[in-house]
Every structure is written in structure tokens, then in C-alpha cells.
């Protein structure tokens, strides 16, 4: 079975309000899926549901063929890594932040240091190792946050608008570095963005979420050519960015 994640008839509620409906979504191993949609559409909710930090009101999410309800919560969460919109670093040094998830998993100190050094280097923050989190710029902090996730060698990487809190120049460089890394790693990755250029550059496929519902999943080119309904068409048009052109431009 090639699917790492399989969602069927998922409904997420906050209080009595329905916030996300997903009819069906399969994500094969090694795929990078970009989740796009307007603000408040339910994109982040989808990631939280996939991380099992939000429990479904109905429907099911399967991970490696097993319903998330059947997984031990901690065992499952240790297979994934979550990168939030804001870096949310702890008040400690950069190297301690990067090694934090390894510490939670009881990885021994020497191995932890070696792995943290490798990923600090990969993210270009090795010179900041001894600096405290509060002394970093937005871009540096986000790089540390990415290193903190990659060091865990997760089977599934979830990223919620990882570049939105940084300036455009840093954003461009970060996106380039991350695209290369994801292409090299073939790690199953789901990331949320409302930038179609990012979605087209980094995603193998794109999922469009509008008004709390997963509307369409497919290659950016296919979605542009065959929007499933008026809301998808309007969303793409409103952004006034042609994802296909972006994709071709990048190619």
C-alpha cells in the first residue's frame, strides 16, 4: 500500500460549529502536498487534525493503514513533526531548541548533539548554536524551527505557513532551500500556504480548501484548467496569480 495517509468523510467541529469537511483525500508516501485556500478556510485545522491534535467529530484519518483512533497518541506524534507559522522556540539556546524533540524521545546526548549539528548546518544556523532563541531574527528563528523538525527524521512533516512570518527576501531564500531539501529527501510533507507560487514550486499536488471544505486536489495545472466549481475558480482568479505560469516559470 502506497498511501501514507487516507482520509474519509472527515468532519472537524469546534464547539457546535463545523469547521472542516474532507470527503476523501489520499496522500502517497514521499509526496509533497500544498494546501491552499483563503484565510480562515480550514487549512490549519486540516494540519491539526492530521497531527491528531484535533479529534474528528466523525469520519476517519488513516495513517499507514491504521485509523488514528487506534494509534497510541504519543507513538503517532513521534512519527511526525509539526512546524507552525511562528517559530515558537523555547527560551533556550539554538542547539537545545533543535535537539528538543530528540530529548523528548530519550535519544542520548552525543547522538542528539551530532544530529542537531547536522541539521543546524543544513539550515545554515550552525554559527548561532550557542545563541538564545530570543536573540534571533525572524528568518533565523524559522530556520531553527525547520531544523528542529527535520532533526527528528519524521515520516510525516506538517508545516503551517512556515514562511509567513519572515520578510520577502528571507522568504525567497528559505523557500529555495526547503524546496531543494524536500526534493532531495522525498519525505511525505503537507504544508499550508496561501501563496500559489509557493504551492506550485514546492508541492507535487495542491489541495484547495474553501469555506471549511476540501474542494479539489490535483496538480496545479489541472486545477487551473478544470476548477471543480465557481468558488475554486474565483479563489484562483482573486489571487490574480496563475499557478501554471508560476510552475512553468520555475521550470
Amino acid at each position: 500500500m502506497n498511501e501514507l495517509i487516507s482520509i474519509r468523510n472527515l468532519l472537524i467541529k469546534r464547539g457546535s460549529r463545523d469547521v472542516l469537511r474532507v470527503g476523501a483525500l489520499d496522500i502517497p508516501r514521499g509526496e509533497t502536498l500544498a494546501v491552499v485556500g483563503p484565510n480562515g478556510a480550514g487549512k490549519s485545522t486540516l494540519l491539526l487534525a492530521l497531527a491528531h491534535l484535533l479529534k474528528p467529530a466523525s469520519g476517519e484519518v488513516q495513517y499507514a493503514g491504521k485509523n488514528l483512533r487506534e494509534w497510541d497518541d504519543l507513538e503517532y506524534r513521534r512519527k511526525i513533526a509539526f512546524v507552525f507559522q511562528d517559530p515558537l522556540l523555547m527560551d533556550m539556546t539554538v542547539e537545545d531548541n533543535v535537539a528538543l524533540g530528540l530529548k523528548f524521545r530519550g535519544v542520548d546526548k552525543t547522538e542528539s548533539r551530532t544530529r542537531a549539528e547536522t541539521w543546524m548546518k543544513a539550515m545554515g544556523v550552525e554559527q548561532l548554536a550557542k545563541r538564545r532563541a530570543g536573540q534571533l531574527s525572524g528568518g533565523e528563528a524559522q530556520r531553527v524551527s525547520l531544523a528542529r523538525a527535520f532533526v527528528l527524521d519524521p515520516e510525516l512533516l506538517l508545516m503551517d505557513e512556515p514562511f509567513s512570518a519572515v520578510d520577502p527576501q528571507t522568504r525567497g531564500q528559505l523557500m529555495k532551500d526547503l524546496s531543494e531539501l524536500l526534493a532531495h529527501e522525498h519525505r511525505t510533507t503537507i504544508f499550508v500556504t496561501h501563496n500559489l507560487k509557493e504551492a506550485a514550486q514546492m508541492g507535487d499536488r495542491m489541495a484547495v480548501v474553501i469555506g471549511g471544505e476540501l474542494k479539489q486536489v490535483g496538480a496545479p495545472k489541472h486545477i487551473k484548467g478544470n476548477p471543480v466549481d465557481g468558488s475554486v475558480n474565483e479563489f484562483l482568479r482573486e489571487l490574480q496569480i496563475d499557478p501554471v505560469a508560476s510552475l512553468q516559470g520555475l521550470q
Binding site: 497531527a51 491534535l53 504519543l74 506524534r77 511526525i80 509539526f82 515558537l88 523528548f104 523538525a149 506538517l158
Partner: protein, 235 residues
């Protein structure tokens, strides 16, 4: 030297005035420190987990419990003294334990006073953290206990302030200690009850000297905790 002046001057005054009964002073001071430290530590053991549960929990009646705890932060010591005295009284529900007029009775009363302070300030300190921090820690594979430990670590400075406030609320209270301890010389007399006694006898110099000693002790303890707090801020 200048920074030591607030310590030396009242201390010397106290020693000069109270020289003949140095043993008494030492006993009273030690008992004050013992009961208030134990009461604060017990409050911490109760207040830290309970305050954490209130800050992180999502359950019905949470707001009501929070409002009760916040009210508890302003509990009048005499009311606490009355309730604890009635409970520990020979004919009271816990009379059989024979704790009334012992240092343990003072510790119980002081714990009732300081626990809501530690609890309320712990809840406030944790509620002030970014709520997404919990999800981030869980998303990095933290167990529930590891997550709570990291949140305490992040809020360590306000939590230290909660501890200072808890200690401050009991080292300086007199009503409850007097009612449940009885101010018995050599047994349950603490600095605050001794000050009340000396004042009632018209021995103002002695009362002033003891007050100065109480202030110095409170100052030194808070100085130490403030130093730890500022060291944490500078890091």
C-alpha cells in the same frame, strides 16, 4: 557596604534592645521561618499542579473555579484562622488529631492562605503563554508531562513571583497564627504574634525591634529570589 545598610541597622537595633532574651528571639525567628517555609512549600505542591490544571484544562465550571481561587487569593487570615480553629478544635471534625495550638496548626492555616495565591498566580502565568506552545510541544513528540514541564520552564520567572507572593502572604500574617497557634511562648510564638503581644504590653521598642527583624528576613528572602529571577531574565 551601602546595600547592606538596610540589613545591618535594624538587626543591630534589634540585638541591642532585645539582648537579654536572645534565645527567645532566635526561637521565635526560627519557628517563623520554619512554619512559613513549610506552608509555602506545601502550597507550591498543591498550587502548582492545580493552577496548571486550571490554566490548561478545558472543562465545564473552569471559570467558576478560577473565580473561587482568585477570591481565595484575598482570603482574610482571621477568617482562615477561625475556620481552621473550628476544624482542629477538640470538639471539631479533626479535633482527634490534637493539632490545635501546635506549629502544625499554624502551618495548616498558612497553607490555606498561601495555596490560592500560588494557584491563582500559576494559572495566570501559564495562561499568559502562547496557547500554540502546547500544540507545538506535542507536535514535537512531547508526552503530556514533558509538555507541562516545558511550560513551567517557560513560565519560570512568573512562577517564582508566585512563590514569592505565597511566602510573603504567610510570613507577614498574624490573625490565623494567633488563633490556631495561641501565641504560646517557646511553642507557637512566631514573629508576628510576638509583635502583637509586645504592643499590647506597651513594649513598643521591643515590638519595633521584632518588626525590624521581620522586615529584614522578608527583605533577604525576597532579595535572594529576585536575584534568581533577574539572573533568569538576563540569560
Amino acid at each position: 557596604m551601602c546595600t547592606c545598610l538596610p540589613v545591618y541597622v535594624p538587626l543591630c537595633t534589634c540585638l541591642l534592645v532585645y539582648c537579654p532574651t536572645m534565645t527567645d528571639i532566635l526561637e521565635i525567628t526560627l519557628l517563623s521561618l520554619q512554619v512559613s517555609t513549610i506552608a509555602t512549600l506545601v502550597s507550591l505542591l498543591i498550587g502548582l499542579p492545580f493552577g496548571t490544571w486550571l490554566a490548561l484544562g478545558n472543562f465545564r465550571g473552569r471559570s467558576f473555579i478560577l473565580s473561587v481561587v482568585n477570591t481565595g487569593m484575598a482570603l482574610p487570615p482571621v477568617v482562615v484562622g477561625l475556620v481552621v480553629a473550628m476544624t482542629l478544635w477538640r470538639s471539631g471534625p479533626l479535633g482527634g488529631l490534637k493539632l490545635i495550638y501546635t506549629p502544625w496548626a499554624i502551618i495548616i492555616a498558612q497553607t490555606v492562605i498561601s495555596a490560592p495565591v500560588v494557584m491563582g498566580l500559576t494559572a495566570a502565568a501559564l495562561a499568559a503563554l502562547d496557547p500554540r506552545l502546547q500544540q507545538q510541544l506535542l507536535g514535537l513528540g512531547a508526552s503530556r508531562l514533558q509538555m507541562i514541564w516545558m511550560l513551567w520552564r517557560e513560565a519560570r520567572l512568573p512562577l517564582l513571583a508566585a512563590l514569592m507572593a505565597g511566602f510573603g502572604s504567610v510570613i507577614s500574617e498574624v490573625g490565623a497564627s494567633m488563633m490556631v497557634g495561641g501565641n504560646i511562648r517557646g511553642q507557637t510564638r512566631v514573629l508576628t504574634t510576638a509583635i502583637v503581644l509586645e504592643t499590647s504590653k506597651g513594649e513598643f521598642e521591643r515590638a519595633l525591634a521584632l518588626s525590624a527583624l521581620l522586615l529584614v528576613i522578608t527583605y533577604l528572602i525576597n532579595l535572594a529570589l529576585t536575584w534568581i529571577q533577574q539572573k533568569g531574565q538576563r540569560r
